[in-house]
């Protein structure tokens, strides 16, 4: 419905604030599921947004050391894409110094972690990360690449 011209004004924004509590990121993914479904993204696109959002949330949970214990999420729906912005007011980190993980080097190494940011970048179409001692903001966008069939208003059958 959202993609039919003239039916509504754009962009639309939904904002969600969650406390830092184990597993609550799943509540955020449910909101993402609804938002992406509202935009008529297909199952795979929805799952990719959900997974990227989970990684951004658990990073804020684990690493931000935020005093207020909150993560701020905004979903910005446009005709062409969905942007999800995840923000914490924690300690931040040096984005440049994060090494790209490599599977070979994980074997024989007790540190198997370090995949979150790389997955976010791979699962979304564009990602920018800004971080400072005042906190971290991840802005990630998923394009709404729709086949011409769907552009014509035909309903998409997506498995659930």
């Amino acid at each position: 419905m959202i993609n039919r011209p003239g039916t509504a004004e754009f962009p639309h924004e939904i904002s969600l604030t969650i406390p830092i509590v184990p597993n609550i990121e799943v509540a955020a993914t449910q909101t993402a599921e609804a938002v992406a479904g509202f935009m008529e993204f297909d199952r795979e696109q929805i799952d990719e947004v959900k997974h990227a959002l989970i990684e951004a949330c658990i990073n804020a949970f684990e690493h931000s050391n935020s005093n207020e214990n909150k993560v701020y999420i905004r979903f910005i729906m446009k005709h062409e894409d969905l942007t999800v912005i995840i923000q914490d007011f924690g300690q931040g980190f040096d984005v440049e110094s994060v090494e790209k993980p490599n599977i070979e080097s994980k074997f024989g190494n007790s540190y198997k972690r370090g995949w979150g940011l790389m997955l976010i970048e791979s699962l979304m179409d564009s990602v920018t990360i800004t971080s400072s001692p005042a906190g971290t903001v991840i802005t990630m966008t998923k394009l709404r690449v729709r086949s011409s069939k769907n552009e014509n208003g035909a309903k998409e059958v997506s498995s659930d």
Partner: protein, 114 residues
């Protein structure tokens, strides 16, 4: 619901199939590792991990799966995944995990591939 995660398994003489149900986060990953470690301790080095009922994972959970694969390598064992959503399969591929543990479409094919 959100907080529930379950692992079950089916043990044959030469291999075992581990079934997960729910979100594979750190706790989910640890539960899978527990079952896998018990099997490895029992001399079962060929494992199928059927994730059909797990549609959501996080990278902490996956890093625990890497530990399991590492353990199996030490004993010349093997892990094959099946029942993955497209996004989980894509995630494993992006990470390069599929070089060390194959993905099969069905449980039967996974068992054949062990």
């Amino acid at each position: 619901m959100i907080n529930q995660f379950a692992v079950t398994m089916r043990k044959e003489s030469e291999y075992a199939v581990i079934y997960t149900d729910g979100y594979i986060n750190n706790l989910g990953g640890e539960k899978i590792a527990e079952v896998a470690n018990t099997l490895i301790g029992d001399g079962i080095y060929k494992l199928v991990l059927n994730l059909e009922k797990s549609t959501v994972v996080n990278s902490i959970g996956i890093s625990i799966l890497i530990e399991i694969i590492e353990k199996l390598q030490e004993t010349n064992g093997k892990l094959v995944f099946c029942g993955l959503t497209k996004t989980i399969a894509k995630t494993f591929t992006i990470m390069g995990l599929t070089q060390f543990a194959a993905i099969s479409d069905t449980e039967e094919l996974a068992i054949q591939g062990l």
